[in-house]
């Protein structure tokens, strides 16, 4: 079996979802003949036609609002936003409408839609293409926020997101589109979208990460193993609703916690996780919770991108601090 990249895994999940449910409609800029700028929708146009794989005008608000109407009208739109920096015009529609339709009509109208967008840095992309906007969606009730970190999880989580009935923001780390690859089956099995994944068990410290920071955390864990530190690695995957329990239970066991994300520190979702852990594992904590994140600065243009982005070495330093705390 050959290896599948994450962007291929996304394509496979989309094709599978479209095959099994004809209500699934893919729409976005250049998702049709071009197959999406990252090729996540490659081949879908030929297979499913222009009605179901729909190139939109350059109109992000429109993509968001039309998807809501489509969803309330009985379809299951999967919208692609071309780059992370262009998801912001949708926030009004997502916050004021998508997340509320079911509640405000007491269940009469629903809004099962998925907004896929690339996120994160590391591929030397232009300005506004490397941000991590997950925290902006994390305080919106009624929404699911998912960030996959591997081909298999991208596949399973995206399938679940599409099959579900809640509005979902699904952020795909561009660095992993081609940077992550593994053997996997297109078996139609989805993964739970209310669960964190424990990717590696450990005794001394819990590393909590999502998206492209998961491979970095795993790297740290592997390297620090050699230094005698046993790190548990958790992929949060679904940020909202948050499976705090899995994280808290891990920290209860390890006593130490390092949270890693690319977005700026202040107001980032790491704060939420730290708060939950500090509360839930209060009496087990052997050291302050560390957060290794992007800085509270504008994401720099590509020349300084790698100074900005957290990496295994920075995570390792935080592990060292946590281990050294007394």
């Amino acid at each position: 079996m050959s290896e599948t990249t994450m962007v291929q895994a996304v394509s496979l999940a989309l094709a599978r979802a479209m095959t099994e449910d004809e209500r699934v409609i893919v729409l976005g800029e250049d998702v049709g003949v071009d197959g999406g700028v990252f090729r996540a929708t490659d081949g879908l146009f030929t297979r499913f036609g222009a009605d179901r794989v729909r190139d939109t005008p350059l109109s992000e608000m429109g993509i968001g609002g039309i998807s809501i109407g489509l969803a309330a009208g009985g379809f299951k739109p999967v919208a692609e936003i071309q780059f992370s920096g262009f998801i912001f015009p949708l926030i009004d529609q997502i916050n004021n409408h998508a997340s509320r339709f079911r509640n405000r009509t007491r269940g009469r109208l629903q809004c099962p839609m998925v907004v896929r967008a690339p996120c994160g840095g590391g591929i030397h992309a232009p300005e506004h293409h490397s941000e991590s906007p997950e925290a902006m969606f994390a305080n919106i009730p009624g929404l699911r926020v998912i960030v996959p970190s591997s081909p298999r999880r991208a596949y399973g989580l995206l399938l679940a997101a599409i099959r579900g009935s809640d509005p979902v923001v699904f952020l795909e780390p561009t660095k992993l589109y081609r940077g992550a690859r593994e053997e996997m089956l297109d078996d139609g099995k989805d993964l739970p979208v209310d669960r964190c994944f424990v990717l590696r068990e450990g005794r001394d410290v819990t590393l909590v990460a999502w998206g492209a920071m998961v491979p970095e955390a795993l790297k740290t864990a592997a390297e620090w193993e050699a230094k005698g530190v046993s790190a548990e690695v958790i992929d949060v995957a679904t940020l909202k609703p948050l499976d705090a329990e899995t994280i808290i239970n891990s920290v209860k066991k390890t006593g130490r916690c390092v949270i890693v994300h690319e977005a700026p520190l202040t107001g980032g979702f790491g704060g939420e996780i730290a708060a939950r852990v500090a509360e839930g594992a209060f009496s087990s904590l052997l050291a302050p919770i560390e957060r290794v994140t992007g800085y509270d600065t504008i994401m720099p243009l590509l020349k300084l991108e790698n100074v900005y982005l957290p990496n295994a070495a920075r995570i390792g330093k935080a592990v060292d601090r946590a281990m050294a705390y007394a």
Binding site: P57, G62, A72, R102, R106, G164, D243
Partner: protein, 377 residues
Amino acid sequence: MPHKPQNKEIIVNSPNIAATFEIDFTRYLDPAGKLLKELPAEAKDPATLKSLYRGLVRARAFDTKAVALQRTGRLGTYGSSIGQEAVAVGAASAMLADDVLVPSFREHGGQLWRGATPVELFLYWGGDERGNSFAKAPHDFPNCVPVGSHALHAAGVALAIKLRKEPRAVVCIFGDGATSKGDVYEAMNLAGVWKLPVVFLVSNNQWAISVPRSAQSAAQTLAQKAIAVGIPGEQVDGNDVIAVRTVVGVALQRVRKDQGPCVIEAITYRLGDHTTSDDASRYRKDTEVTPHWQEEPIKRLQQYLTTAGSWTKADEDKLLKEINEEIEAAAAAFLATAPQEPSVMFDYTYAQLPADLAAQKQAVLSSLSANLSQAAE
């Protein structure tokens, strides 16, 4: 290949002129109710006109009661549609049951026409989500408070209808103010390029709270917003319910035949305050408002019907009595409605209650029962 224009543009064969456009205006009744041209076939039956009249009167009665309930603290902030009832009623009367109304927040008359009950509308404006259940208008969208943001939903549900090849149509209503918003423009543009079965109906009541129509846009008409997106745009006298019904009706026929969307600007006037929280005397003079009372839709139709011999004082008394009874009964039913369980606020957030939220719900339930037992002590 350049897109084939949907509009009635005249492509002029001069090398210097790429396109020309025009905007029509339709009216049957003048402000005094005098017929200006022959009624269209669908509006010739007096029964039709009487039912339209009933719809207008019912809308006004609902508005009047709602304002009264607000004044006595039984409703939240309320936006009356006084003076502009003919827009929503006229449009609703041209729609079929299976069509979809995507309203703003001032289309009570149209909502009632299509089957939303006065009790539901009172519930919504009284702050109870059950008011959006619309048992008898299950396709219709709830009120949309963020101005203009619903135009995109209208385009979206129209796309759903088109994809299923159903002969249904969507009517989206919003105000003159809303036409300044980018989401409304994007909705029109998407509807145009995808030829979606939707009619965008601008209820131009000349004001967006304190901002007059002239300060919204330099465009001479709001109908010409359509030209920017290559679809037909026209104006109609929005206080002439016959004209509204006719123009929207013709548009819906086109739409149902998959001949594309359009923009209709209905010219009307907001006779009242913006909402019960507003005091319009701060920004507009009575001398501006007064003449518009001569143009309002109810008296206009009543005068026509009376002159035509189709309406008597006895008809009027009977109608008012019936409608008042209906609205009073609805108000009483609204006031007597048992409150929602507070914990219901958790139940529709997700399709299934996540563990996290279940814990929060439990906290509310136990604090409520603690309060109850405290109160019982």
